[in-house]
């Protein structure tokens, strides 16, 4: 390996410690006797990742130790071994030992061998303790480090015996052998003794095994690495060939592996294939299969990293612009520095100019740094087309996924934490919401169901909506279930909303059939908890037979929006650019009065109400009171349009949304505030709120406000 693996060690350690925490928590939650298989699974997965990682990075003592734990966990997972308090305790203690080993490896000191051996003996005691246990087979145990440490072997003898199902896992023995051949000269002997008679031959099974002799003084780790992806699906043993012909065959597996290393060939049982000669491949090309495997690992790592909030993926464009800005800042600074060397009053103009430049660069820099934390929500949304596609295939439904507002920028934290809850909700919609095609046709709906996923900034919040046109929530069934479970009393008079609230109770599921897609009742409570953790809220709206809408509202702590600054009197407000359709100057003759009160004007085919901002906001010194003196900004929100009458338009700019609620509270008509370039505060208009205000204050008839 030409890559310096040491650079990844830190990541490995971080991941492993996280894995240990997962294992520990899982073990602590495990009740002896009745363990949740999912719990064991997650512990197993954590152990497996640690094993894989430590093997890759050459911490063989750790991978060996973890392997024993994994074997034990595997048996528990398969139900071959009961979960006893004793076993759990031993596993917990093993987690502690493992943590010590990892810490030792991280600090580069020698671990406490005695303690490891002791704990390992404990584990093996538990492993061998029960009779119902099948012998633990995977012979992946590495030979004790003797050879590597003392005599450098000149080659390796490898016995590779795939399990029958190896091919079905997508692994190809030939690829593995080729990869070993890349390491050096390889002699391959194939053992076809296990081949069944033709009548019993199963084409998808693997019956061959191989004995390989690799004549190259490579590291054992390199060979182990090749087998890493199949180690659970085969038996393999690696024995060093020592120099001077002194072939001390070392019994590889420590604990009764099923693959004893054959000391000599048994020609009568084997058909020796002609030794496959392979020239050493100078440019060891990477096998695409392996690379894929590597990618899989990388994704796993990225996912794990998300929990630790330690890193962020940033668009290189953003970084480039940051670097540019820092460059400009440095230039400005040196210019100011030179100016300061011998300053005289006649250079005042240049000083001012320099300071203004400095201010601008600093501000831009600040904005760009803020931008880094903001990511488009498409990061989260992008996984859904595939998910919905796969699920609909599986469930035999026709579903179209529509998405909108993917470019809505949200804080990185939100991106990370919202993914799982959204997956859950979309799954629910697909599985429970949308009906099978026949049922839809029978109900007079189009055969293809629609799941609509949208995100937008609304009223100072990010609103994510999952809307489907399926069967909706079964209100009565939920109520009945709630009564059964004693959550509500039959005599309670509950509103639909209150009833829908019930599905957020832990363990609540009304699915008639528990599928592997959803319906286990694990979930909605977790979804709500996750969203609450983000400071958000979730709401369900549903109509039987018509569909449901789930609305997630998340606060904007650090969102950025494109805004149009407007001025009214001496005050400056920001109108979100997305809401603006156009800005026009309205002439008095275009204005009509409805019922003597509400002002409207005609814009092409529509009559739009005019909202005089200085009136609804009580701004005393507005310059424009006559319609022809100001500007009408036509805005749209929630399918309604209106014209905001303001004094003037200023500029367009990106603004960082600051919460008004953090220190004060909500104000109708405002979605937040922002800080302008000069450090002063400008308020951001909430268009739906402004429309409501206008309706209330001017008594504008609703029919006019609702333009056709």
């Amino acid at each position: 390996m030409s890559i310096d693996m040491a650079q990844f060690h830190q990541v490995f350690f971080e991941e492993s410690f996280e894995g240990l925490d997962v294992m520990e928590n899982g073990l602590l939650n495990m009740d002896p006797g009745e363990a949740d298989p999912e719990e064991i699974n997650s512990i197993f997965r954590a152990a497996h990742s640690i094993k894989g990682g430590s093997g890759t990075f050459g911490f063989h003592n750790i991978s060996e130790f973890t392997h024993v734990m994994e074997t034990l966990l595997d048996e528990m997972r398969d139900g071959r071994r009961p979960v006893t308090a004793d076993a759990v305790n031993v596993l917990l203690a093993s987690v502690d030992v493992l943590r010590e080993m990892l810490t030792a490896a991280q600090e580069g000191v020698d671990p406490d061998e005695a303690r490891i051996a002791e704990q390992r003996a404990e584990l093996e005691r538990v492993l061998s303790g029960s009779d119902e246990v099948e012998p633990t087979t995977p012979a992946t145990e590495k030979a004790p480090e003797v050879p590597a440490a003392e005599v450098q072997p000149v080659g390796w003898r490898i016995v590779f015996r795939p399990h029958q199902h190896l091919l079905r896992t997508g692994n190809d023995p030939l690829r593995i052998i080729r990869e070993i051949a890349d390491l050096g000269e390889l002699e391959v002997v194939c053992d076809i003794s296990d081949l069944p008679p033709m009548s019993e031959f199963e084409p998808e099974d693997s019956y061959l095994s191989w004995e390989l002799r690799l004549d190259a003084p490579v590291d054992k780790a390199q060979i182990d690495e090749i087998f890493e992806w199949v180690e659970d699906d085969c038996d393999f043993a690696v024995v060093p060939i020592l120099p001077e012909g002194a072939e001390t065959v070392q019994a590889a597996p420590a604990e009764g592996a099923s693959t004893p290393v054959p000391e000599q060939k048994k020609p009568e049982l084997k058909v020796a294939a002609p030794p496959v000669e392979r020239r050493q491949n100078p440019d060891r090309r990477q096998n695409p299969d392996r690379r894929q495997g590597g990618d899989r690992r990388a994704t796993g790592a990225a996912k794990k990293g998300a929990g630790g909030s330690s890193s962020i993926r940033v668009d290189t464009g953003k970084i480039d612009s940051l670097i540019n800005m820092v460059g400009e800042l440095v230039i400005t600074q040196s210019m100011l520095g030179m100016l300061g060397e011998d300053f005289s009053m006649d250079k005042l103009g240049r000083l001012r100019e320099g300071l203004a430049q400095l201010e601008r660069h600093t501000r831009e820099l600040q904005e760009s740094v803020m931008q880094i934390r903001m990511l488009p929500i498409s990061f989260t949304f992008s996984r859904f087309p595939r998910l919905v596609h796969d699920l609909s295939q599986k469930l035999g439904k026709k579903i179209e996924l529509r998405m909108s507002g993917e470019s809505t920028e949200v804080d990185k934290t939100v991106i990370e934490k919202i993914g799982d809850p959204l997956v859950h909700l979309v799954r629910n919609s697909v599985d429970h919401g949308i009906e099978p095609p026949e049922e839809r046709v029978a109900a007079g709906k189009p055969e293809t169901g629609v799941v609509h996923l949208s995100a937008e900034h609304r009223g100072g919040n990010i609103v994510i909506e999952i809307r489907d046109d399926g069967r909706g929530l079964a209100r009565d069934k939920i109520l009945q279930k709630g009564i059964e479970r004693g959550l509500v009393r039959p005599e309670d008079n509950l509103s639909d909303k209150q009833i829908f609230e019930l599905i957020f109770q832990p363990g609540f599921s009304t699915a008639e059939q528990v599928s592997d897609v959803s319906g286990r009742g694990v979930g909605m409570d977790v979804v709500r908890r996750n969203i609450n953790e983000l400071g958000g809220a979730i709401e369900i709206d549903s109509e039987q037979g018509k569909g449901s809408t789930i609305t997630i509202r998340l606060p904007l702590t650090l969102a950025i929006l494109d805004g149009q600054s407007i001025c009214i009197g001496n005050e400056t407000y920001i109108v979100p650019l997305v809401s603006i359709i156009e800005s026009i100057q309205v002439r008095p003759h275009m204005v009509r009065h409805v019922a003597g009160k509400g002002e409207t004007f005609r814009l092409r085919d529509e009559y739009l109400p005019i909202v005089r901002m200085h009136e609804i906001f009580g701004i005393p010194d507005a310059r424009a009171t006559r319609i022809e003196d100001g500007i009408v900004v036509v805005v749209e929100a929630g399918g309604r349009k209106c014209g905001l009458f303001v004094d003037d338009l200023l500029g367009q700019q990106q603004v960082v949304i600051k919460s008004l609620e953090a220190n004060y509270g909500r104000v109708e008509g405002l979605s937040g505030a922002t800080i302008l370039g000069d450090g002063s505060v400008a308020l951001i208009l909430d268009i739906p709120g402004v429309m409501r205000l206008a309706n209330e204050l001017s008594g504008m008839p609703e029919t006019v406000a609702m333009t056709a």
Binding site: I616, F617, G618, S659, E661, Y664, G665, G669, L683
Partner: protein, 170 residues
Amino acid sequence: MSDEVHLSLLGQDHEDDAQGSQYLSFMLAGEQYAVSILRVQEIRGWEPATRVPNTPAYLKGVINLRGNIVPVYDLRLRFGMPVREYTKETVVIVVRVGEGEEQRSMGLVVDAVSDVLVVQDEQISQTPEFGAAVPTEHICGLASAGDDMVMLLDLESLAGGTAGGEENAA
């Protein structure tokens, strides 16, 4: 009203620091008020705030406090005292109220800051009842500084009463 309330100026009576609490006192229409010094975040000169529409008059507006939007209340208006032009002595005391997640900052416009006082807890006397004419719900006690009486402000109740439209928000 004050039966031997012991009160001393900071720096003259260090040994009392351990038992007493420190208060920042300020002037408001000729009267002396004080807030617990632990609540005080900073003191700033008055600078124009951005008016927030459709809010009570005593909310002068919001200011940018190092990137946070902080509301500024005029205490004279809050307590129904006569309005006075802001001078160069007019200051904004920024205080923190609430705990943890609920913690909020707010600015209070006062006529002038006077002093830091040490007040013994047991020597704070109850606010006497004045009847409905004088609002006393935001005064949590009385103490005396020399010849003057100091009213200790209850910031929590003040914040509760001024916290905008939060409760009636959708």
